[in-house]
């Protein structure tokens, strides 16, 4: 009975109800777009950072992350790689052996991060093959190196020249090697570009006297949100005292903090948006109430109690807010789905400057389900709070005066 009354009330003055519904729906739409834009850029940042180098998950010997030395390397047991590959969601596992050594050519010498990699697997993570700007990419059995462009520039060497590497191997062994340069890699991140040397894994193990040992296994997974599950899956299958399994949150604490900080400013902006939206909604409610004073007066004089009237109005508000929230999400979905698949790239000088740092100059949109229902709840809640205004007005209404004033 009350529900029917409320429903009919809504459609009795179609125009007024539509304005209210549209204004709330629009608020939901704007809040969703704003949040989607923020969350989308975070996801992309994580994806990019993982792709630069680290991967979403790494496995190392327990203690390696705190103290990255060859002494904390572990034996590459074939069962381990096979086990990791089998876990659902793992796209590729990339074994690495890395340490610092001096790289020298002619009269120049510089500290370099010498990285032993399996060329094919490495390419699946960092897309190293596409970063080759001169020469060719490595083969697994090459006895040659790839040098990062910044380092090559410093050493003034090119493809075909011979690079001397001197360092300290496993258990303090002397590590020295002479390798022809097979190619030059250009990395977007300056620190990486200025110090990286790629060596095939087998050759690196020989160079560092670390036969069949690895410092880390980096993983590419299908979705960032599966990381926790995969970490748990691997941890369950290895001896926790021997190996540590870390997700990107532990691997890249700087990034996590950066996102958290940016998220604060994002939330402040969202709060500001809610303030503006809230005021718009309040205006609509206020007008709606003012318009209906006469009607309220009549209802009351024919004997409807305040409580019942308030209940009906409350139902009206609830119904309209529900309709509006559904409409708002319905409106935002196609827009966000489209832009999720077609990020907005911007052009011009600033875009080029941004891209030179390996960051994509674009707006990305997220389709995380939580983003929709969080906004929906927030707006619904706001409508609910603001809806107390008409109830208050009814509480104070003097029927005769209301009918007079309205005329």
């Amino acid at each position: 009975m009350y529900l029917t009354l409320a429903w009919r009330n809504i459609w009795r003055n179609k125009r007024r109800s539509l304005i209210t519904i549209v204004s709330i729906a629009f608020a939901v739409l704007l809040a969703c777009v704003m949040r989607s834009l923020q969350l989308g850029s975070y996801n992309r940042m994580i994806e990019n950072a993982a792709r630069f180098y680290t991967g979403y998950i790494q496995v190392h010997k327990n203690g390696y992350w705190a103290d990255k030395t060859l002494e904390n390397s572990f034996v590459n047991d074939t069962g381990l790689l096979a086990m990791i590959d089998r876990i659902a969601g793992v796209e590729v596992a990339v074994p690495r052996l890395e340490s610092f050594a001096l790289a020298s050519y002619g009269t120049k010498t510089k500290g370099a991060l010498v990285l032993g990699v399996e060329p094919e697997r490495e390419d699946l993570l960092t897309r190293a093959r596409s970063k080759v700007v001169a020469g060719a990419y490595l083969q697994a059995h090459d006895k040659a190196v790839l040098v990062a462009a910044g380092l090559a520039n410093y050493l003034k060497l090119g493809v075909g020249d011979t690079l001397v590497l001197i360092g300290q191997g496993f258990h303090g062994a002397n590590a020295a090697g002479v390798y022809p340069v097979k190619g030059i890699l250009k990395f977007p991140v300056p620190t990486q570009n200025n110090q990286t040397v790629f060596l095939p894994l087998k050759e690196a193990q020989w160079f560092y006297a670390a036969d069949n040992r690895l410092t880390s296994i980096a993983l590419v997974v299908d979705k960032a949100k599966n990381v926790d599950r995969i970490v748990a899956g691997i941890s369950a299958n290895v001896d926790p005292a021997a190996l540590e399994v870390m997700g990107w949150r532990e691997l890249m604490p700087d990034l996590v903090q950066g996102i958290e900080i940016d998220n604060i400013s994002g939330k402040v902006m969202l709060g500001v948006l809610y303030a503006v939206i809230g005021f718009g909604m309040f205006g609509t409610f206020l007008m709606m109430t003012a318009e209906r004073m006469y009607e309220f007066g009549v209802m009351m004089s024919v004997g409807m109690t305040r409580l019942r009237m308030q209940f009906v109005i409350f139902l009206e508000m609830g119904l309209m807010a529900a309709l509006a929230v559904v409409a708002g999400i319905g409106l935002s979905l196609p827009v966000l789905v489209y832009y999720h698949h077609n990020p907005i790239y911007f052009t011009g000088d600033s875009a080029r400057a941004i891209e030179s740092f390996g960051i994509e100059a674009a707006y990305f949109f997220s389709l995380e389900p939580s983003l929709f229902y969080n906004q929906a709840w927030a707006i619904f809640f706001m409508a609910f709070i603001l809806g107390f205004y008409p109830l208050l007005v009814i509480q104070r209404l003097k029927p005769v005066q209301a009918m007079r004033d309205a005329l």
Binding site: L37, F100, G111, Q195, M269, M281, F282, E291, A353
Partner: protein
Amino acid sequence: MLVKIAWKNVWRSRSRSLVVIGSIIVGVWALLFGSGFMNGFLVSYMANIINHDISNIQIHNPKFKQDFDVRYFIANGKAKAAAVRQWPGVRGATTRTIVSGMISSPKKAAGVQIRGVDLKNEALVTRLDSMVAEGTYFTGIKRNPIIIGSRMAENLGVKLRSKVVLTFNDGHGNITAGAFRIVGIVESSSVAISETYAFVRQQDLTKLVALGDIVHEIAILTQPQTDEAAIITRYRQTYNHDLVESWRELAPELAVMNEMYGNMLYVLMGIILTALVFGIVNTMLMAVLERFRELGMLMAVGMNKARVYLMIMIETVFLGVAGAPIGLLAGWLTIYYFRMHGVDLSNYSEGLEAFGYSALLYPYLDNQVYFIVTLGVVVTALVSALYPAWKAIKLKPVEALHKL
């Protein structure tokens, strides 16, 4: 006459007018606070890097930055720095001898940029002394003291008074090495400082480089609110062989960040303005629809459409003019208050300080932003009134009078 009617109309329905004025106030305030807050983030982050790491202006030998070869030093660098120190607008200028090499502890080796610093002036320009978290600023160890960052110390597994060896090419291309003892460990949110720099006394380093008393870098910190370009031009005119760069060229990533933040800010502002337009359109539309009878009456007694249209627009202008200054004042007061006291963000992120931000955020706005925002919101209000006003002149007087 029309103005007078509009003015009276505004106050005839006080609650409705107050809602529109309120939306305008909230809109202006929200935009001001939002941009001030975002700006505050950026400014505090950039100030940190400029004041503690790269300074406003750096001078090098034009060839030095290509490959950091020790032989490309600044001719008469010390004399030039001494002269620059006297210029107006310069707060401090320091010289550095810079060598790239390797730092090794008994446990581990890492790449490093060795910076031979002028103790007194370095403290003036980058406040290196204030960043020393453990140990002292080059006092207490007589022979070859060295200061390194906390992350580097962690990487190398060294503590105060540990010995480290620096290895690099000297001025004649020979590999040379020197043993240094750690006198201090600096803590900084800057990755460069905490992970890749090692600071030694200039004279200790130049002795090993063996090219005499050379410097590779002059860093200049300007007085606040000084135009860097003036100092750069003056330097170029006085000594024309050196490469002079401002922080914009030195740290393009900061300029990029500036750019990205700016773009994002515009987008967010756009979204907020759209929300504002919607709020105002709704209220004005209702205001017009509610007054159908009255407007119909006006038209029936002979007011033409242009005048009705104009009247509604004038009403909106009044509302805007009433709301904007209050919003402006509220925004200014909020920002002024938080500029004095800071916004305490420590509850939201514990890692804030570790990342180069201070947990107290000071919003900041250029004066022109106040003007732009206010103008923007008033224009928005006017635009929002177009549709309702158009709706009003569309109405047919007789029907409108019959409606109620």
